[in-house]
């Protein structure tokens, strides 16, 4: 009998603590759905168990009474809050589910902050390390992706709450799928070997396919889901093929190991080039770079708008995190080969996105094409191939996430009352009929266009600076030109809102408490971080550390 203890893996719970919090929330939500009216019988023992784990953590982990373990305290609070929420919202299960999901995402965000200050902080830079036998990276990219993803989740939950109720598409499975998708995204940002990366990608994709089709009676939603699923499955297969080839060529599944194998002069370069191209196709699909962007307009248009907001904001952040890690870590020795290709794709995305958005009439489609353009801007940071570019891409994705959630939040309010897709003419005279909504929309559009002093400006400034520092002048010039073009169609929307008269029977957009809260926070972040970007920008700059 061999001694099995030598095979026991090291489990570093702290490196995936936010994901554990989210998963617990998923399990609680599913159990409560099954329990129906007897949900108290689920919530009470689960709440007690969570609080009990918290007490145990406090006892084991705390070094002194003055320095209690934060996860322990958080678990106690969350456990008590779970029971309190279940009692307080006993009559409104829908709100209860949304609150519990929000509790999970909030806990994940707090745990991410705890990771920053208690685990990864060394004073000036993040410490990069890998855990779980090299499967999970614990570095700046992983943590910053978590911030973007969980903040997006936390914003989308209240903004879309009343919208799904109005459209009558709310299902108790909605929040668990949203949270599972967010977990997949966070793990995608942290995955340090290709198997974990692929599985995390599938977790987020499967949940998103279903969420896209969750308006089951809406044909556009069905079409979007099928399109997304079929194209996404093909892209995943191509990605997997690329991984298989790189494994043949280098004999390693871990990203740093792939880079080591590539640096070996005897490695089959042609095979590696093929695998690089296949991986680029697979990842390019997820982040919607031209020419892999065909699905974007239809899926953005057909999906329920709150899902669109989540998909646009969080998936992009996670997909780019995976792309950064794959290309900057694993394919680094082949940089001479991929940098020109990816730079051309970035240029094409910016140009095509800006050009196609010009002629759109449906606002969601317009934002979908602008998402393609924004994928191009974020890619500038990757091809810069520098620490500045790395942090610029992370920061850009954060700014884009907040901004696009605000913009789509505005559309949600209009769509709720119109009960149909929002075209530009639906925005006519919005500045007069509902000035607050028009102001928020305008703020988001200005930020998307990158006009100072909004958050979007700070983001674009970062990627353009990084591009210039790396000598990619042509790409930056193209970026500035397309930004000017895109400003035209964003301003066209604003013109419709403020310069035209409202239609006489124009419906008044509908608000709700959740929508108010979510959009106010998002718009506040756009203004505040636009004026005072240093808080998170510093973090992004210090987070430019990759586990290698």
């Amino acid at each position: 009998m061999t001694d099995l203890t030598q095979f026991l893996p090291d489990i570093a719970w702290s490196s995936v603590a936010p994901e554990i919090a989210m998963t617990v929330a998923v399990v609680v939500l599913l159990l409560m759905t099954v329990a129906g009216r007897r949900r108290m019988w689920v919530a009470t023992p689960m709440g007690l168990a969570i609080a009990g784990v918290g007490v145990a953590l406090l006892v084991v982990e705390s070094t002194s009474p003055a320095d209690p373990s934060l996860p322990g305290l958080l678990a106690i609070v969350a456990g008590v809050a779970l029971v309190a929420l279940t009692f307080g919202l006993a009559g409104v299960p829908r709100a209860l589910h949304a609150w519990i999901a929000g509790l999970g995402a909030g806990a994940a965000l707090v745990l991410t902050a705890w990771q920053i200050f208690d685990v990864a902080w060394t004073g000036s830079l993040f410490a990069a390390s890998t855990t779980m036998e090299g499967s999970v990276a614990m570095d700046g990219l992983a943590i910053f992706t978590r911030i973007t993803v969980y903040l997006s989740t936390l914003l989308v939950l209240p903004i879309g709450f009343a919208y799904v109720r109005d459209r009558n598409i709310h299902r108790p499975e909605f929040e668990p799928l949203l949270l599972l998708s967010a977990v997949g995204m966070a793990l995608l940002g942290a995955a340090n070997d290709v198997i974990t990366l692929f599985i995390a990608l599938e977790v987020l994709s499967i949940a998103l396919y279903v969420l896209t089709g969750s308006a089951r009676r809406d044909r556009r939603s069905q079409e979007a889901a099928v399109k997304y699923f079929v194209l996404g499955a093909v892209a995943s297969a191509i990605l997997l093929y690329g991984f298989a080839l790189s494994y043949i060529a280098t004999g390693s599944l871990e990203l740093p190991g792939i880079a080591l194998g590539m640096a070996d002069p005897g490695s089959p370069l042609r095979l590696l080039a093929v695998s690089m191209v296949l991986v680029l196709v697979g990842v390019g699909f997820k982040v919607a770079l031209v020419p892999f962007q065909l699905w974007v307009p239809d899926v953005y248009e057909g999906a329920p708008t709150n899902v669109t907001a989540f998909m646009g904001a969080a998936t992009k952040a996670a997909g780019f995190a995976a792309m950064l890690r794959l290309f900057v870590v694993a394919w680094a020795p082949l940089a001479d080969l991929w940098v020109p290709i990816v730079a051309v794709l970035a240029g094409l995305s910016m140009a095509y996105g800006a050009w196609a958005a010009l002629v759109q009439d449906d606002v969601k489609r317009l934002l979908a094409y602008s998402a393609v353009a924004h994928a191009g801007y974020a890619t500038i940071g990757i091809v810069s191939l520098s620490d500045a570019g790395l942090s610029a891409t992370m920061w850009y994705l954060f700014t884009y996430a907040i901004t696009s959630i605000t913009a789509l939040g505005g559309i949600i309010a209009i769509e709720r009352r119109n009960h149909r897709a929002v075209s530009i003419s639906d925005l006519n005279g919005l500045g007069r009929t509902s000035p607050a909504l028009a102001a928020v929309m305008s703020l988001a559009l200005l930020s998307l266009a990158g006009i100072p002093p909004t958050l979007g400006f700070e983001g674009k400034l970062g990627v353009f600076t990084a591009g210039m520092l790396s000598g990619l002048t042509w790409l930056v010039v193209l970026g500035v030109v397309t930004s000017v073009v895109s400003a035209f169609y964003y301003l066209r929307l604003m013109g419709a809102m403020f310069l035209t008269d409202p239609a006489p029977d124009a419906p008044v957009p509908a608000y709700s408490h959740g929508w108010n809260a979510g959009v106010t926070v998002a718009a506040g972040l756009i203004v505040y971080l636009g004026l005072q970007p240093s808080i998170l920008l510093d973090l992004a700059e210090r987070a430019a550390v990759l586990a290698r």
Binding site: P9, E173, L180, A207, R217
Partner: protein, 201 residues
């Protein structure tokens, strides 16, 4: 050429042929059965590589479960089983694209290895115990995340399949698909019509 090579060529021809038949067959049931043959061929390839356990998993999961699932799906959804065309106008285009992709990949991969072939080694036999040890030590984290993927798929399937009263989007009615069915056959159009009527209340 060893006997192993001959067996491999036979298996490869059968697998490849069945794969082609899967996508060219005009009858959905035949396509599903050909898919079964393809998957069995892949299982046989695993056996040739001395990966006994993977071969068994391939047979049990893919051949046993997936193919049967396909057939049940066809049966239960009353999908058009007959000989009607499953083609779209994009068929020539799709053939060109896939043939080009196949050609490019074959050329690139063959040229990538060139003359420096991998040293011919005896197939390494890996026992189930080795696999289990690898899964639960080195790959324990991805293994755990797989369970999350399954959970997402399960919950998603429930969301898509479960019918709920008052379950509608902005546009409702799905037009029933009426194929060229002669009226004498049983009430074939009932199931699609039900789908569009908003479910039972």
């Amino acid at each position: 050429m060893t006997s192993l090579d001959i067996v491999f060529i036979l298996v490869a021809v059968v697998t490849g042929g069945a794969a082609v038949m899967t996508v060219t067959s005009r009858n959905l049931v035949h396509a599903a059965l050909f898919l079964g043959v393809t998957l069995a061929g892949i299982g046989a390839t695993f056996l040739l590589l001395a990966a006994d356990f993977v071969a068994m998993v391939q047979v049990v999961v893919y051949l046993g479960a997936i193919t049967v699932l396909f057939l049940f799906g066809l049966m239960l959804t009353r999908a058009p089983i007959g000989r009607e065309t499953l083609d779209s106008r994009n068929r020539p285009m799709a053939m060109v694209v896939s043939a080009a992709l196949f050609g490019i990949l074959v050329v690139l991969i063959v040229r990538a290895f060139g003359s420096n072939q991998f040293p011919a080694t005896e197939p390494i036999s890996s026992s189930v115990a080795d696999l289990g040890m690898a899964i639960f030590s080195t790959w324990v984290f991805p293994f755990e995340v797989v369970s999350m993927m399954l959970l997402a798929a399960l919950v998603g399937a429930v969301l898509l399949a479960r019918r709920q009263s008052g379950d509608s989007g902005t546009e409702t009615r799905v037009t029933p698909i009426r194929e060229a069915l002669d009226d004498s056959t049983e009430e074939l159009d009932r199931a699609p019509a039900e789908l569009g009527s908003g479910g039972e209340r």
